[in-house]
């Protein structure tokens, strides 16, 4: 299995993603510079990492979505390639229109950096298939614009089609208002496109995947991908 990690100017979780994929999971992993618009067909999965690409100027992801690599990412998505966008990567995929909805500034207007609990809504995606349904994953969040928004019609369509992958929940997996860190509609923490080959998530699975750290819940996302690609 071969993975690519896209690097934009201002990406800062790229090395964490690369480390987990290559050194912890033992996958062949390459960097992809944002100026490179060559086909991505050589990869089994492509990760858009977190960070502050282009300084988050105008809106997070608004400028990065026009980087040459995004043409290749869009072609890859249309062919069914697996794409995982984490944090800023999620914001870029939304701006590019590869995922439904948008991310607003957190309800508190503050940058939030803390561990949260999320509950797995569906296991019928390549990104969650190794999880148990309703499993609770403890994952760190670190963002200012993570307040997920979509209009009612879109939300209904996503619910009908199983496109909500993770919701913020309490430690017991209950989706409550108190467990919503940023004001996301329906506590949504991760979504997929209609075809389920593109996933975007605000929590950072790569920051909870190295066994040097006691929490490795984030591995579930990467393991799911590995299983899906192997099958």
């Amino acid at each position: 299995m071969k993975c690519g990690v896209v690097v934009f100017p201002g990406s800062n979780c790229d090395h964490d993603c690369y480390h987990i994929l290559k050194h912890i999971l033992g996958l062949s992993t390459e960097w992809i510079w944002h100026k490179d618009d060559a086909d991505l067909d050589r990869f089994d999965a492509v990760v858009l990492p977190g960070g502050f690409s282009f300084g988050d100027y105008l809106r997070p992801g608004a400028i990065s979505r026009f980087s040459p690599v995004m043409k290749a990412v869009t072609r890859y998505a249309n062919k069914g390639g697996h794409i995982l966008g984490i944090c800023n990567g999620f914001q870029i995929l939304l701006e590019a229109g590869l995922l439904p909805g948008a991310l607003l500034t957190n309800r508190s207007q503050k940058f939030i950096c803390k561990p949260v609990a999320t509950v797995v809504e569906t296991t019928e995606t390549p990104f969650t298939r190794s999880c148990k349904k309703n499993a609770v994953l403890k994952l760190p969040i670190a963002h200012k614009q993570g307040n997920y928004f979509a209009d009612t019609e879109t939300l209904q369509r996503m619910a009908d089609n199983g496109q909500v992958l993770l919701r913020y929940a309490d430690a017991a997996g209950q989706v409550t208002e108190a467990a919503n860190p940023n004001g996301s509609v329906g506590n949504i923490a991760a979504v997929a496109n209609e075809r389920k080959n593109v996933m975007g998530m605000m929590p950072h699975p790569e920051r909870a995947a190295d066994p040097l750290w006691p929490n490795v819940d984030g591995q579930a996302i990467f393991q799911s991908l590995i299983e899906s690609i192997a099958s």
């Binding site: 909805g101 928004f149 209009d151």
Partner: protein, 82 residues
């Protein structure tokens, strides 16, 4: 030609900053304030385009980059004297 562009949240999108400013104005005694929307203002200097072309080009800029039309709406004016 100067394009003056306003980008604001669409109706139904939570605008906590607008709400906070609204409350602050009410607290200061401006009781006539019914609603506050806080957004972005951009000025874009254009050269070598007719008013008609500018209209089309600025609208395109807003759709493609300046506003995220999932959450934001935009309006603009074109000032030919500037």
């Amino acid at each position: 030609m100067l394009a003056k562009i306003h980008v604001t949240f669409k109706n139904g999108v939570l605008d906590p900053q607008g709400k906070a400013v609204h409350h602050a104005l009410n607290d200061l005694g401006f009781n006539e304030v019914r609603d506050v929307t806080l957004g972005k203002y951009l000025e874009i200097k254009l050269e070598g385009v007719s008013a008609e072309e500018a209209e089309h080009r600025v609208s395109d800029m807003c759709e493609k980059l300046l506003a995220n039309t999932v959450i934001e709406s935009y309006r603009y004016t074109l000032d030919p004297t500037d």
